[in-house]
């Protein structure tokens, strides 16, 4: 074929007449200086227009990858109103006073705590600050924690009252019991019931299989109940398959090391649960923490990590509903981010499975995300199903990987049959029309309660749809005072302080349930209204 010298391009497909053949013997060029003009092969650099096929290597090396357009996605995780400077200052001052009094107390009075015997010359077992905190700060409010109950933790609960003679060093039982409305237990759909279809199924399972299988799943601990439960869980969540574990905490602690290994990078939310943190520690992965629900910070971290080009995979680990903040993860936005940058997503739905979404399938249902877009769906059966245990669900390969490499299949004993039967019945009930009624009544209760709290003027955190409602009280003393007074009025709630929350943001947490009636909620709100001025809780400035 003749080489056509048309505008500098060598086009091999064109046939041209012999007359257009260039002379390749340099006779038509001036080569006086011995150099051959490079334009002879048709390539004239100076006349050449750039980008013949559109590929400009230099331009791409400099051009930044596009950022996410967050206006396209719903990234609102909930409201987190900040308190006034005065409140923050007073809280800090209160803490200093508490510490100072603790020091004085320690100097003047010997603590009534046990000391070690027969261990002279040994290194002290505990860290002195931990001991100081637990004896002089935590002890003062210890009576609101670890409260024993003696009935089903349903919509109402019976508390066993305690007294203390020595300022909370030790407790005794007064012998009286108090029936309270239960806003403290995780009973979102009201399945914690001593009678009913679930209890009958649990009874039948105990009579058939006994109390426990006494063997791990890999040996002689698997039963048809486990297999049915796994099948039902997978169908419930809309994924290919699932595996169940005997304890919710252990699901993360034993499943994560099987899934991730060194060489992976994990981007973890700052408020992730202790079980996730333990699982990531045991997996020996590198962890980078991003600010709570802050997708922009996550994007910056993810882009920096991808640019480093040394990680085998990058996994984002988040929870569906955070139980201390009441916020919901912006799942649609995260899935969009993950697809754009090639990341993976691990979603811990401990508090959201069963409780969120119009059909109760969790945050994927609530945010309208396809469950197959989330790589690993993990959850527990403790909260919405009234049982114990956890699951990991996803594609069939993922589940096989967790079973083969996770630590629970070979070493940890399988789920007790009564618990498995309870979960199975509860899950089928949620999928039925009666279950949708429960989910809807939980949602109505949530909206009503949050609206009334807002009208009352107290500061609540979180998203409007989350059934966990934290009410900020900021100081330890107010936390203890509120819980005491609410209990006296027949409402059992939970006070949470350091270290589960930051030191100056103690809160009261209300956990709503589908089993609560409107009258019960009104009673609770009336009790709260009674004390809100006495304790001074109207922090909201809206």
């Amino acid at each position: 074929m003749a080489a056509a010298k048309v505008n500098g391009c060598v086009s091999l497909n064109e046939r041209s007449s012999a007359s257009e053949n260039i002379k390749c013997d340099n006779s038509d060029k001036n080569i006086g200086n011995g150099k051959v003009h490079h334009g002879l092969n048709g390539y004239e650099k100076s006349k050449l227009k750039p980008t013949t096929n559109g590929f400009n290597k230099m331009a791409i090396e400099r051009e930044k990858a596009p950022w996410m357009d967050w206006s396209q996605h719903d990234i609102f995780p909930g409201s987190f109103e900040k308190c006034s400077l005065m409140t923050a200052a007073l809280t800090h001052i209160g803490l200093y006073i508490l510490m100072f009094l603790g020091f004085v107390n320690q100097l003047l009075f010997k603590p009534k705590v046990a000391t070690e015997r027969n261990r002279e010359g040994y290194a002290p077992l505990y860290n002195p600050f931990e001991q100081f905190y637990s004896r002089y700060v935590y002890r003062r409010v210890r009576h609101i924690f670890n409260r024993p109950i003696c009935s089903t933790p349903g919509a109402e609960v019976t508390l066993k009252e305690r007294y203390t003679d020595d300022y909370n060093w030790s407790f005794g039982f007064t012998g009286t019991e108090r029936r309270c409305i239960n806003l403290g237990s995780y009973n979102y759909l009201g399945f914690a019931a001593p009678r009913g279809a679930c209890a009958d199924a649990a009874e039948a399972a105990v009579r058939r299989y006994g109390l426990a299988h006494c063997s791990p799943r890999a040996e002689l601990g698997s039963s048809r109940l486990h297999r049915d439960l796994e099948r039902t869980t997978a169908d419930f969540l809309g994924v290919e398959s699932a595996v169940v574990f005997g304890m919710g905490f252990a699901t993360n602690a034993l499943g994560l090391p099987g899934l991730l290994g060194a060489g992976a990078l994990v981007l973890s939310d700052e408020n992730n649960h202790a079980s996730l943190i333990l699982g990531l520690r045991l997996a020996h992965v590198t962890v980078r923490v991003f600010r709570h629900n802050d997708v922009r910070h996550l994007e910056r971290l993810a882009r920096a990590a991808v640019a480093e080009a040394r990680w085998k995979k990058i996994v984002i680990v988040v929870e569906g509903v955070y139980s201390m903040e009441g916020s919901i993860v912006p799942l649609a936005a995260l899935v969009a981010l993950k697809k754009q940058l090639g990341l993976q997503l691990y979603l811990d739905e401990a508090h959201s499975v069963g409780a969120m979404g119009p059909r109760g399938r969790g945050v994927t249902d609530h945010c309208g995300v396809d469950p197959r877009d989330v790589d690993v769906l993990m959850g527990t059966f403790t909260k919405s199903f009234g049982a114990a245990g956890g699951y990991i669900a996803g594609s069939a390969e993922l589940v096989n990987c967790v079973r083969a490499q996770g630590h629970a299949h070979a070493y940890a004993h399988s789920m007790a049959p009564c618990v498995a039967a309870q979960v199975l019945t509860a899950m089928r009930a949620i999928a039925s029309p009666a279950g949708v009624v429960r989910v809807r009544s939980l949602r109505d209760n949530t909206h009503y309660f949050r609206r009334r709290l807002r009208d009352m003027g107290v500061l609540t955190f979180g998203h409007e749809d989350s059934p966990v409602v934290p009410m900020l009280v900021y100081t330890f003393s107010k936390m203890a005072a509120t819980v005491e007074r609410l209990t006296a009025r027949g409402v059992a709630t939970v006070g949470v302080g350091f270290p589960a929350t930051p030191l100056n943001k103690a809160r009261i947490r209300f956990c709503l349930s589908a089993a609560h009636t409107r009258e019960q909620l009104d009673e609770c709100l009336a009790a709260l209204e009674d004390i809100v001025d006495e304790v001074g809780l109207r922090y909201s400035r809206r």
Binding site: R62, A199, C214, R224, G246, K313, A388
Partner: protein, 444 residues
């Protein structure tokens, strides 16, 4: 003169407020602002980023046998229910009564209305049974050990552990991030050598906590630990002992109190005794026993205790009822011990296998005599042997291990669990079946 002015109240207050303002502003200005991350991601790098899929290869999982497919008359020596308390009518009835009072789940961690009166009762009863000051109950056996170790041992500490401790202890040590020295299995001379070396290198000093972790009867080998010698070494080198008595509580000792009762070692020599409710008591859960000083710490720092829902009340009630039976009827423990001894005698006569296990140990490990085969092949042969035995009326378990993750993974074996209801005919059946299986489907 100036002093007189300062004593003036107004000036005094001004000084106080000024000092506070200075301290406050210094604090706020000195707070390190988080460094803004510079964005380096270009389109080129994004195109070149090829992450591995989350699951890198497909895994083959052996489908385990379903317990429903095992008939009623099959002799079960694979599950570790040594005292056969898993289907006793009195326990079943009491747990169903508890179900009708409390429901199934406890719906909360111990700190937040998850403490039910049955939990307190179980803790008191266990403390009285073990003759210790206090116990705390966990909802899962695996988490008990892992949380207990990491509650006390932290990054700068040193742990001496036997090389054949079971997996949960290894994970507890891993979570603690302490320095760990493994000594040869049950070899007290090796431990002494390691301790002397550590003392010489000044690793053992009064500022650094040191722990010694051992199991009373090792789950991975069936041998008993020499507790007296361990206690003596611990006292000499100032180590704290954590003893995992999962397999010995309710199994050895005149009343079933474990190795300390059997060897007559005073119980307060052991700092922490870790027990399991998943073997002799036939429910799901675990507990830690010790002095109030030690156990109280776990109520705030044991991760599996604070951050997990408490044990379901019906399983707790089952543990209480099982404890009732053990306390009223200590003869069942001696029945179990008799059977364990008989099993040892019978297993010594096997033609094609060796076994390991103390005569009082409720678990025996049976290994193939032919030791040249690789582990993978041994495992599949043992699997064929146990399948054959199952078809012929005895259910056994091949010990499951994660070969790649274990420290010192043991050889593949069949783990036989003795039980108090075994009679001579059963034992003979087990032995003949094992030999027969080897001849029919074993390695050629």
């Amino acid at each position: 003169m100036i002093l007189m002015d300062i004593y003036d109240t107004v000036s005094w207050w001004t000084l106080v407020i000024a000092v506070q303002v200075v301290i406050g502003s210094v604090y706020f200005l000195w707070q390190k602002k988080p460094k803004e991350i510079e964005d380096k991601l270009t389109k080129q790098k994004l195109m070149e980023w090829k992450p591995l899929p989350l699951v890198e290869r497909t895994f083959e999982v052996e489908e385990p046998i379903l317990i429903d497919d095992i008939g009623e008359n099959v002799l079960n020596v694979g599950t570790t229910s040594f005292l056969c308390l898993d289907k006793v009518p009195s326990i079943v009835e009491s747990s169903i009564k508890s179900l009708h009072k409390y429901g199934v789940g406890s719906c909360g961690p111990r700190g937040f209305y998850g403490t039910i009166d049955v939990h307190l009762e179980l803790e008191e009863r266990l403390a009285k049974f073990m003759q210790v000051e206090e116990t705390c109950v966990y909802s899962y056996g695996f988490s008990t050990v892992a949380s207990a170790i990491s509650a006390y041992a932290k990054k700068g500490d040193i742990i001496f552990a036997d090389e054949k401790v079971w997996f949960a202890i290894q994970k507890g040590i891993d979570a603690a991030r302490s320095t760990v020295r493994y000594f040869k299995h049950n070899d007290m001379n090796d431990l002494e050598r390691l301790l002397n070396e550590a003392a010489a290198k000044k690793e053992l000093n009064p500022k650094r906590r040191a722990f010694l972790i051992a199991e009373a009867i090792y789950f991975n080998s069936g041998k008993m630990c020499p507790l007296r010698k361990l206690v003596e070494l611990a006292r000499r080198f100032k180590l704290r002992i954590m003893l995992d008595e999962s397999l010995t509580i309710g199994v050895i000792g005149k009343h079933g109190r474990g190795l300390t009762e059997h060897l007559n070692v005073p119980r307060d020599e052991i700092d922490l005794i870790i027990g399991s409710l998943e073997h002799s008591f036939a429910t799901v859960g675990g507990f830690c026993a010790g002095t109030h000083f030690i156990v109280e710490h776990q109520r705030l720092s044991g991760l599996g205790y604070c951050f997990s829902a408490s044990q379901p009340p019906m399983l707790t009630q089952a543990a209480i009822s099982a404890l009732d039976i053990i306390e009223e009827n200590p003869a069942i423990i001696s029945e179990l011990d008799e059977n364990s001894k008989k099993l040892n005698k019978a297993l010594a006569n096997l033609k094609h296998y060796t076994f390991s296990g103390d005569e009082l140990s409720p678990v025996k490990h049976i290994y193939l005599k032919n030791t040249e085969l690789p582990d993978r092949l041994k495992h599949s042969h043992l699997r064929n042997i146990t399948n054959y035995c199952l078809e012929n009326g005895v259910a056994m378990a091949v010990a499951a291990y994660l070969r790649d993750t274990e420290v010192n993974c043991p050889e593949p074996s069949i783990r036989l669990a003795s039980s108090r209801k075994l009679n001579d005919a059963n034992i003979a059946q087990i032995c003949t079946l094992l030999d027969e299986a080897y001849e029919k489907v074993g390695p050629k």
